[in-house]
Amino acid sequence: MTASSARRRPRGLLRSAVLYGLMLIAFAAILAPFAWLLISSVSRPADLLAKPLSFIPPTVTFDRYAALTFGANPDSSAEGFRAAMLNSLTIATAVTGIALVVGVPAAYAFARLRFAGRGRLVLIFMATYMLPPIALVIPLYQIMSGLDLLDTRAALIIIYSSFVTPFVIWIMRGYIEGISPELDDAARVDGCSRLGALIRVVLPVSVPGLVSTGLLAFLLAWDEFFYALVMTQTNAAKTLPVALNDFIGRHGVDFGLLAAGGVIAAIPPVLIAFVFQRYLVAGLTAGGVKG
């Protein structure tokens, strides 16, 4: 309807030409850098170093993906990368679980219960999330060293829980506030305790919120670099970001290998983002706008 009426007026035609032009630019700006990463990851090394550069690769190879994932006889980089994948998965999953279990009851309390100092406590949790890691990293390093936990996954799981938990509280509080309080009042009248109301009534209707919060928490842990850089030394605990950082330092590394590693590290978050887009946007706006 709008399109057809626009077509009749010259001014409308100009307007839609401009809008579609802008849209084309937006598509190009969003896709081109990532497309180049993908292309680099499947181009032969010699083609990547050619001048003039051909943006469409003459031949395509998936050797690097094989080497980094399931190929036989991995070299030390590939071995490190595989270990890092497993570490990242374990750590991000554990952190998500801990943060949800610890954070959701707190979020419920902040959203529903009346108690002295509630506002101040919420602020303290928010402030924790905002603290720059650089202010905590030195004492945490010493503590982990004292507990003999340096270079372990446990150290990263513990540390990440400290900033993922406030994040979960923040988003889930916004989400629970959006649920009608009459729902848990009804459960209470029926004789449920607060915990019973939370588990039997509020959580079941909060599944979309829990999913989006959990996914965002996973992404937060998956993405972390700074603590991992400081706390890990070997394949025992290095996460993907650190393993990728190591690739850069290695002399004579094939850029395509770096690109392939980057693409693999991006697969889980990108998949999550596309499949659960609706949930994620809901979670982001719940936290961002109401928080």
Binding site: I30, Y108, P132, S162, I248
Partner: protein
């Protein structure tokens, strides 16, 4: 009247039990924060007033505020503060500007806008490290796609050292950050735009307001709370920037991209000066908390009006 109700509520047994329940619900999270945040913060404070250098174990004399005064009078510190500020202001401003533009575009009844709306999440979903690696490779001085693209289309006469030239390095880092974070702004603003009723906009148009005036007097005021919150979150994130810069330039060339977080990290882990590193950590945390306090007041004022 309110006080009477409040007093009665305090005496009410149900309120008491509610406070106990709340305590039990919040306790696990509070414990996590106490052990992993509060305790380290206290230790960091202790470190920051002692002269602790790892290469000289056993000697940790109390030096009072010396670590702080050393930094506050150190031109390198202020140079790093300045770089962090310019990164913060430029990247946040660009992200807000482009993000609002992109959101408005995605709000237009255009064909394929559904595709744009779903693809827009891609840059945001890429892990920061992957994004930084990607741009490091694109900006590569010898084999980078940016040089090839600009050179082969005749826009530059020769390959540029984008990341190893102190004049362009910060710009390239900002570009990479803007590419990743603009979509988030656009997604949040689009959600806010969709909350604005069509009637309000059409009423303004019927009253003779042009596109610009409608945006300026109808849409923008309704977007302000969202924009302010994005501004708050983005500035605080950007001020503590570490990873994207570390991967792209390591803080170089010639410290041209050394943000305050990178400066603090290098002080702590290159010279193993944990005392000064902790003082720097406190100074950065303080700066961010001051920012947060200013913003909270600002938000409160907008919320009330």
């Amino acid at each position: 009247m309110d006080q009477v109700i409040a007093a009665r509520r305090r005496l009410n047994p149900r309120t008491w039990s509610e406070a106990w329940t709340a305590g039990a619900f919040v306790a696990p999270a509070a414990l996590v924060i106490l052990l992993i945040v509060a305790y380290p913060l206290v230790r960091a404070l202790w470190l920051s007033i002692h002269d602790v250098v790892l290469t000289r174990p056993g000697q940790e004399p109390l030096v009072g505020l010396q670590n702080y005064t050393t930094e506050l009078t150190n031109p390198d510190f202020w140079a790093a503060v300045w770089r962090s500020l310019s990164f913060t202001v430029l990247s946040t401003a660009l992200e807000l500007l482009l993000g609002v533009g992109l959101a408005l575009l995605m709000d237009q009844p255009l064909r394929l806008r559904w595709l744009l709306r779903s693809l827009v999440i891609l840059p945001w979903a890429l892990p920061t490290i992957v994004n930084a690696l990607m741009w490091r490779w694109i900006d590569n001085a010898e084999y980078g796609a940016l040089n090839a693209l600009l050179y082969q289309s005749g826009l530059i006469d020769g390959y540029q050292q984008w990341l190893s030239n102190p004049d362009t390095a910060m710009g390239m880092v900002i570009l990479a950050d803007v590419w990743k974070m603009t979509p988030l702004v656009a997604i949040l603003v689009l959600a806010a735009l969709q909350g604005i009723s069509r009637e309000q906009i059409e009423a303004a148009r019927v009253d003779g307001a042009g596109i610009v005036a409608t945006f300026r007097y109808v849409v923008l005021p309704l977007l302000t709370p969202t924009l302010l919150i994005i501004l708050v979150l983005r500035t605080m994130e950007a001020f503590k920037v570490f990873d994207i810069i570390w991967i792209m330039t390591n803080g170089g060339p010639a410290n041209a991209t050394q943000s305050i977080a990178i400066y603090a990290y290098q002080t702590a882990y290159r010279s193993y000066d944990f005392g000064r590193g902790s003082a720097l950590g406190y100074l950065i945390a303080l700066a961010i908390m001051i920012l947060a306090a200013i913003y909270l007041r600002l938000l409160g004022r907008v919320g009330r009006s």
